[in-house]
C-alpha cells in the first residue's frame, strides 16, 4: 500500500500541470551538460517549484523556482523526477 502511494506521488516533468507544487527528488538520466545548465539556474535536488503555466502552444512550461520565473521544455527535462510537496 505504501509502495503504491509512493509511485503515485512521483512525477515526471511532462506530467506537471498548472498549479502543482513539487520538489525535485532526482535528476534521473539527465545528461551532464543539461544538468549543469539546470544547476546554474538554481535547479538542484530538493528545490521546490510551482508550475505557473504552459505556453499558448502547450510546450515550454513556466516554473516558479526560488522566486524566479524559469521556462523549460517539458520534453527536454523529461528525466527529472518530482514529488508533490
Amino acid at each position: 500500500m505504501i509502495e503504491l502511494q509512493d509511485k503515485i506521488s512521483v512525477l515526471k516533468t511532462t506530467d506537471l500541470v498548472r498549479g502543482d507544487h513539487v520538489r525535485l527528488i532526482s535528476f534521473g538520466e539527465t545528461d551532464v551538460a543539461y544538468r549543469r545548465r539546470l544547476f546554474s539556474f538554481g535547479i538542484a535536488r530538493g528545490v521546490e517549484a510551482r508550475v505557473v503555466r504552459r505556453a499558448p502552444l502547450g510546450c515550454p512550461i513556466q516554473l516558479d523556482i526560488r522566486g524566479t520565473a524559469l521556462m523549460l521544455r517539458a520534453t527536454e527535462a523529461s528525466h527529472l523526477v518530482w514529488e508533490y510537496v
Binding site: 551538460a33 538542484a44 499558448p56 515550454p60 513556466q62 523549460l72
Partner: protein, 632 residues
C-alpha cells in the same frame, strides 16, 4: 586600476556601468543585452578606474556551454588582467545569483559585491542584511538601487576596493565542490541574511503575465502590440516627417540655392550642391521622427521585459524551424537594425542555432528600410499605408522563416539546443535612459547616414553633370546600361535612377531615398515618382526588392565577423536571388493580363531555379564557416 563587472544575465551590470561612467550603453530587461565587453574610465579621488562591462554569465564553468557571450566573459575573467572583480547580484534573486559568486570567490581575487535592485527587493518584502553577508563572504557588499546617488556608490566602491581581502568562504573543502552541496551551503547562508515578508498580494508581474501569456490571448496580443508599433510609427511618424521635409527643404535646398545665387555661384555648381548635397542632407534630417519613434518604441518593449515573454510564447513555433524561442529576440531586434540583431545571436546556445539566426536576421525589415517605404507609400498608397508597410514586414518574416526551413532541411540539420530561459520581472522603463538611448541611436543613425550620403550624393551629382552626347549624363548611361536586368520587375528604361538607387542602397539603406531624391530632382520633380514607376504594382515590386536584397555593407561585414566568409557570401547571394525572384514574380503576376505567356515563362523559370538551388543545397557541405571573432 582595472575592474571587471561580473554577474548573471539581466542583473543590472550595464545599468551600473552607465551610472558609474556616464556612458550610455544599451540596456534592456532581458538576458543577453550585452554581448561583447565594453570599457570606460572614471576616477574617484585621484584613483583612476578602468571599468569593463562583461556579458552576463550563469556559472564560471563554461566548458560545456557553447554560448559565445558567456565564453567571452569567462575568458576575460580567466585572463587575470583585472585588479578587482565587481560582482553584481540582483537582490531579488540572491540565492540563485550567489551560485556564480561562490565560484568567483574560489578564484581568490579581490572582489566587491554590489547588490542591485534593492528598491525592487524592498518592494517585494525582501530584506537583506548586507553586513552579515559581507562578513560571511569575506568581501565588501554595497547596496545599490535605481535611486542611489552615483557619488555615494562611487565612494562606497572606492572604499570597498581598499578593504583588505579575507577569503574564507562557506564551502571551500575539495569534497564539497559538488554543485548540489554548493547550493546547500548557499541556501544556509541565504536563510541567515535574507528575511522575506510573505506577501499575500499578487505581484504585478504575475497579474500582467496572466493576460499577456494567456493560452488564447498571447498570440493575438503579440500581433496587436506589433501592429500598434507600426501604426504609431507610420501614422504619427510620417505626419511629422512631412512637416520636417518642408522645413528642411526650405533651408537646405531652396535656402542654399538662394545663398549660392546671392554669392554669384555658377549655375552648374549651384545645381550640384543643392540637388546633390542639399537634398541629401535634407532627406536624412526628415527621417528623424520616424526613426526616433521606432527606436523609442522598440526600446520600451525591451526595457519593460516583454521581449523575453515573446521567446516564451514563440518557442513552440520556432521549434518548427529547429530554433529555440530565444532566437526570436534577435529577429525582433532586427526591426531596429540588422547589425545588433546579428550580434545578439551570440546569446544562443549552439553554433548551429547562431548561424541559422544570423542568416535569418537580414530579412527583418530594419528601420532604415522604413524610410524608403514611407516615401513610396506617400506616393502610391495614400490610404492604408500602414497596411502596406505591415505586409512588407510580414513578408520579411516569412522569407526569414523560409530561409530557416530551407537551411534546417539542408545545411544545418538537427535539433535546437535545450531551452532554459528566465522571465524577468516587468519594470517601468526609465524615461530618461530611454530618451537618451533614443537620442544616441538617432545621432549614430544621422552620422552613419551622413557619412555615406554626402559622398554618394556628391559622386552621383558629379556623374550626373558629366554630359554624354546630348541630353544624357554619364550616370544615366550607366543606369540605362544595367536597367534591362531589372526590366522584368517593372522598371522602365527611363526609370534608371531606381536602378542606381538600388546600387547605392547596398552601401546603406539610409542613403537610398537621398540619392533617389537628388537623381529624380535633376530629372524633374520628385513628386513625379508616381509617373516613373508602373503604378502600385511596380512600386510594390520595387519595395519587395528593397526589403529582401543585401541590407547594407555593415550587416554584411558583421555577418562575416560573426559567422565567417562562406556564410556571408551565402547570405549575400541568397538574399539577392530571393529579392529578384520575389520582385519579378510579384510584378509578373500583377500584370498577368497584359502578357500571360511571359508571366508563365517567368513563374516557371523561377520555380525551376529555386528547385535546382534547393537540390544543390541538399548536397552542399557548409562546414566551412569559421568561428566568430572575439570582439567586434
Amino acid at each position: 586600476m582595472r575592474c571587471l563587472l561580473v554577474g548573471n544575465p539581466n542583473a543590472g551590470k550595464t545599468t551600473l556601468f552607465n551610472a558609474l561612467t556616464g556612458e550610455y550603453q544599451r540596456v534592456g530587461n532581458w538576458s543577453g543585452v550585452t554581448v561583447a565587453q565594453k570599457k570606460a574610465n572614471f576616477s574617484v579621488k585621484n584613483t583612476h578606474i578602468e571599468l569593463i562591462d562583461l556579458p552576463g554569465m550563469y556559472a564560471l564553468d563554461v566548458s560545456n556551454t557553447e554560448r559565445r557571450d558567456e565564453q567571452l566573459a569567462a575568458e576575460s575573467i580567466a585572463s587575470n588582467q583585472a585588479d578587482c572583480l565587481i560582482n553584481i547580484i540582483d537582490a531579488t534573486q540572491l540565492e540563485r545569483h550567489l551560485y556564480l559568486t561562490s565560484q568567483l570567490l574560489e578564484l581568490k581575487r579581490p572582489m566587491v559585491i554590489v547588490l542591485s535592485m534593492m528598491d525592487q527587493a524592498e518592494k517585494r518584502g525582501i530584506h537583506i542584511d548586507t553586513n552579515m553577508l559581507s562578513r560571511a563572504l569575506g568581501c565588501p557588499v554595497v547596496a545599490e538601487s535605481r535611486d542611489t546617488q552615483c557619488d555615494v556608490l562611487k565612494h562606497a566602491l572606492q572604499e570597498a576596493l581598499h578593504v583588505p581581502k579575507a577569503f574564507d568562504l562557506v564551502c571551500m573543502d575539495d569534497e564539497l565542490t559538488m554543485m548540489d552541496e554548493r547550493y546547500t551551503a548557499i541556501h544556509a547562508l541565504v536563510e541567515r541574511v535574507e528575511h522575506r515578508v510573505m506577501e499575500v498580494r499578487e505581484q504585478f508581474t504575475a497579474k500582467l503575465d496572466r493576460v499577456l501569456l494567456h493560452r488564447f490571448w498571447a498570440f493575438p496580443l503579440f500581433f496587436a502590440v506589433m501592429y500598434a508599433l507600426f501604426f504609431v510609427v507610420i501614422v504619427v511618424g510620417c505626419f511629422f516627417q512631412d512637416q520636417l521635409t518642408v522645413l528642411s527643404d526650405a533651408v537646405f535646398v531652396e535656402g542654399v540655392a538662394h545663398l549660392l545665387r546671392y554669392l554669384g555661384c555658377p549655375a552648374g555648381l549651384s545645381a550640384w550642391v543643392t540637388n546633390g548635397l542639399g537634398r541629401g542632407i535634407s532627406t536624412t534630417i526628415s527621417f528623424i521622427p520616424v526613426m526616433g519613434l521606432m527606436f523609442f518604441l522598440l526600446a520600451c518593449l525591451e526595457e519593460s521585459g516583454y521581449m523575453a515573454r515573446v521567446a516564451f510564447v514563440m518557442d513552440r513555433f520556432m521549434r518548427f524551424l529547429g530554433l529555440p524561442g530565444k532566437a526570436f529576440v534577435p529577429l525582433i531586434v532586427g526591426f531596429g537594425c540588422n547589425v545588433p540583431a546579428v550580434m545578439a545571436a551570440r546569446t544562443l546556445d549552439s553554433e548551429r542555432d547562431r548561424r541559422l539566426t544570423i542568416l535569418m536576421s537580414p530579412f527583418m525589415s530594419c528601420s532604415a528600410r522604413l524610410t524608403i517605404y514611407t516615401v513610396f507609400v506617400a506616393a502610391f498608397f495614400p490610404r492604408g499605408g500602414q497596411n502596406v508597410v505591415f505586409s512588407l514586414y510580414l513578408l520579411g518574416i516569412i522569407m526569414a522563416i523560409l530561409t530557416g526551413l530551407l537551411l534546417r532541411r539542408t545545411a544545418f540539420p538537427g535539433k535546437s539546443s535545450p531551452l532554459l530561459l528566465e522571465l524577468p520581472v516587468y519594470r517601468w522603463p526609465v524615461w530618461r535612459v530611454l530618451l537618451r538611448g533614443t537620442v544616441r541611436k538617432l545621432r549614430m543613425f544621422l552620422w552613419r547616414a551622413g557619412k555615406v550620403i554626402l559622398p554618394v550624393c556628391a559622386v552621383l551629382g558629379l556623374l550626373q553633370s558629366v554630359p554624354v552626347g546630348t541630353n544624357s549624363s554619364l550616370l544615366s548611361v550607366f543606369g540605362q546600361w544595367i536597367q534591362p536586368v531589372f526590366a522584368p520587375m517593372g522598371i522602365a528604361p527611363d526609370n534608371w535612377p531606381a536602378v542606381v538607387g538600388l546600387i547605392t542602397g547596398m552601401l546603406a539603406k539610409e542613403v537610398m531615398v537621398g540619392s533617389l531624391n537628388s537623381m529624380y530632382a535633376s530629372m524633374g520633380s520628385f513628386t513625379g515618382l508616381a509617373q516613373v514607376f508602373d503604378g502600385a504594382v511596380g512600386a510594390y515590386a520595387y519595395l519587395l526588392f528593397v526589403l529582401l536584397y543585401i541590407p547594407c555593407a555593415s550587416t554584411v561585414a558583421v555577418i562575416r565577423t560573426e559567422a565567417g566568409r562562406s556564410l556571408m557570401w551565402f547570405s549575400v547571394l541568397w538574399s539577392s536571388a530571393l529579392a529578384y525572384g520575389a520582385a519579378v514574380l510579384f510584378y509578373q503576376l500583377g500584370t498577368v493580363s497584359q502578357h500571360p505567356e511571359q508571366t508563365l515563362l517567368w513563374v516557371l523559370s523561377i520555380i525551376l531555379l529555386l528547385g535546382l538551388f534547393v537540390a544543390y543545397m541538399r548536397s552542399a557541405n557548409f562546414s566551412g564557416g569559421s568561428r566568430a571573432a572575439t570582439t567586434s
